[in-house]
């Protein structure tokens, strides 16, 4: 009973932390666009947080640069359990065009565990919303 209540409240108001691990900004402005009045992610209870300590879901972009590797891990560790990571964009999934560079790691899942992937370069705000909703639906189903 109590667990159901916790899951229900988690699904109804996922607090999101936006983590940029060296992306070109394209995915980041699309994530912001998803929160803007046109797409309005807040109607699903999605709220952007300024610190990882308040977040349930980490929305991560970028191919993880050498400089940011440790900071990404630290941010991930600060998120309270249970935590979910959504990799947004092609770079976050596989490194995409930056694959083969001397200072990128080729994707978020090389560094931290990832729960959902949203492909696209950059994904459209609709796709980002769809990905977040899919992740939340999978939570209710167990």
């Amino acid at each position: 009973m109590f667990e159901n209540l916790v899951t229900w409240s988690r699904v109804k108001s996922p607090w999101v932390y936006h983590l940029n691990s060296g992306s070109c900004n394209g995915c980041d402005i699309e994530i912001l666009a998803a929160l803007m009045p046109r797409f309005d992610a807040e109607r699903f209870g999605v709220l952007l947080q300024g610190t990882p300590r308040h977040a349930d879901v980490v929305v991560a972009t970028g191919p993880v640069t050498e400089q940011l590797k440790e900071k990404v891990i630290r941010c991930y560790e600060q998120v309270p359990e249970p935590k979910f990571v959504v990799a947004v964009g092609q770079c976050a999934i596989s490194g995409a065009i930056f694959d083969g560079s001397y200072c990128t790691h080729g994707g978020i899942d090389k560094i931290i565990p990832v729960n959902a992937y949203i492909p696209g370069c950059p994904p459209k705000p609709e796709a980002i919303l769809d990905g977040v909703v899919k992740l939340l639906t999978s939570l209710t189903e167990g």
Binding site: H18, L19, N20, S21, G22, S23, C24, N25, G26, C27, D28, I29, E30, L32, A33, M36, P37, R38, G50, T51, G62, P63, T65, E66, Q67, L68, K71, C75, I97, F98, G100, S101, Y102, C103, T104, C121, P122, K124
Partner: protein, 393 residues
């Protein structure tokens, strides 16, 4: 009073991109500021050497997602110059139209971010909502909202049909109404006036000395715009004004950007109605003959420079890029000194920083394990000492 050093970043809530600012404060006043850049260094210049010219178009596009088009324009212009190719007039016009649409979307984005930094989130929401008008138009024209993949060497990849032209004109009418609203807000709204007037004042002399570019330079009263000073694409034919401000502060930057957007709307309208007929691209050879070229464009944030060396193969020998934020970050560090701590986000956001653009250059002193990039005086001292010691530290 004791001095306290506060590290801000690299991952922090104010900006969406990682960057580290070391700010030393005494009471409420900033006495020293250092900017540590390089967190988003992805090795683009080196990667460019391993990719063909066509692949490099997609790579340069991803230097920065906001001003992606200006980078591909620059790269195509540099390649076309070595190839000795004349782009058809229609192609040049279409390129210029998308360049201006990009400026409109970027400036609207900045107005929103500036509003957010000063705690005026209503403005953020409104301006990003109106930005969707131009995003829709870009999507119809090019097929994507952010990284358009519209440029190619020898022209552009899609034509503009009369229906799209009609839609563009309608969108410009809507945007003009919206922009008038933001100009009104910028000139009369107390929140904006109190948070921006007299903040981040950069005198014209300092702006020149610290190599400011773009709206930051024009807000310091210097009438310099690459579109006028060294016209590329169709800018020598399109009528427009260079906007400057004599207030030299962040408010000046707001006004310059808002009025510039209005100019861009007029330019797009003029170009769509006067679009020349004919081809929009020419076929180009894959291999580029030996040679060097230099191209610059006015990105939404300022002057963007590409320097290309070709060696006769289908891959470049060297590509050097200097993006506008790299030129602007020196004046941010300068302006932070003596500022009130609450004004720090406004000053940083003022130049419309785009770290993705800037972070291709990195200075690390491995011997001393220093974490900060020195300021200009420090660099001069370093250079002088280096030469005085015959090239040793």
């Amino acid at each position: 009073m004791a001095e306290v050093t506060i590290p801000i970043g690299p991952i922090h809530p104010a900006l969406k991109e990682p960057e580290r600012f070391m700010i030393t404060i005494e009471g409420e006043t900033v006495v020293a500021a250092d900017v540590r850049i390089g967190h988003i260094h992805r090795g683009i210049e080196k990667l460019a050497e391993s990719k063909t010219y066509i692949q490099n178009l997609y790579l340069t596009e991803r230097i920065c997602g906001i001003c992606s088009f200006t980078h591909t324009t620059n790269f195509s212009q540099a390649t076309e110059e070595i190839l000795g190719i004349e782009v058809p007039k229609r192609g040049v016009y279409l390129r210029t139209i998308v360049n201006e649409l990009e400026r409109i979307h970027s400036h609207l984005l900045w107005i929103g971010v500036a509003g957010h930094e000063m705690g005026f989130d209503t403005l953020f929401m409104y301006s990003w909502d109106d930005r969707e008008i131009v995003q829709d138009l870009l999507e119809i024209m090019t097929g994507n909202r952010v990284n358009y993949a519209y440029n190619t060497i020898g022209g552009v990849r899609r034509d503009m049909s009369p229906e799209i032209a009609q839609k563009a004109l309608k969108a410009m009418d809507k945007l003009e109404v919206a922009m008038q609203k933001y100009i009104d807000i910028g000139l009369n709204e107390d929140t904006i006036l109190k948070r921006t007037q007299g903040v981040g004042v950069l005198s014209p002399a300092d702006a020149r000395r610290l190599t400011a570019v773009g709206p930051r330079l024009r807000a310091s009263g210097i009438k310099y715009d690459v579109r006028k000073a060294d016209p590329h694409a169709a800018y020598d034919e399109v009528p427009f004004e260079v906007i400057t401000s004599d207030t030299h502060d962040v408010h000046g930057q707001y006004v310059v950007r808002a009025l510039e957007t209005l100019e861009s709307i007029k330019m797009v309208r003029w170009m769509v109605t006067n679009l020349p007929d004919g081809d929009y691209r020419v076929k180009t050879p894959r291999k580029v003959p030996e040679g060097e070229s230099f191209s610059r464009t006015e990105a939404p944030r300022g002057e963007d420079i590409h320097w290309l060396v070709a060696n006769g193969t289908d891959k470049p020998e060297r590509l050097k890029i200097r993006a506008p934020t790299y030129a602007n970050i020196a004046n941010v560090a300068f302006n932070l000194k003596g500022a009130h701590i609450a004004d720090v986000p406004m000053i940083v956001a003022g130049i419309d920083p785009c770290m993705g653009c800037m972070d291709r250059v990195i200075i690390i002193d491995a011997d001393k394990k220093t974490q900060t990039v020195t300021d200009e005086a420090g660099l001069w001292k370093f250079a002088n000492d280096w030469y005085a010691n015959g090239g040793k530290k």
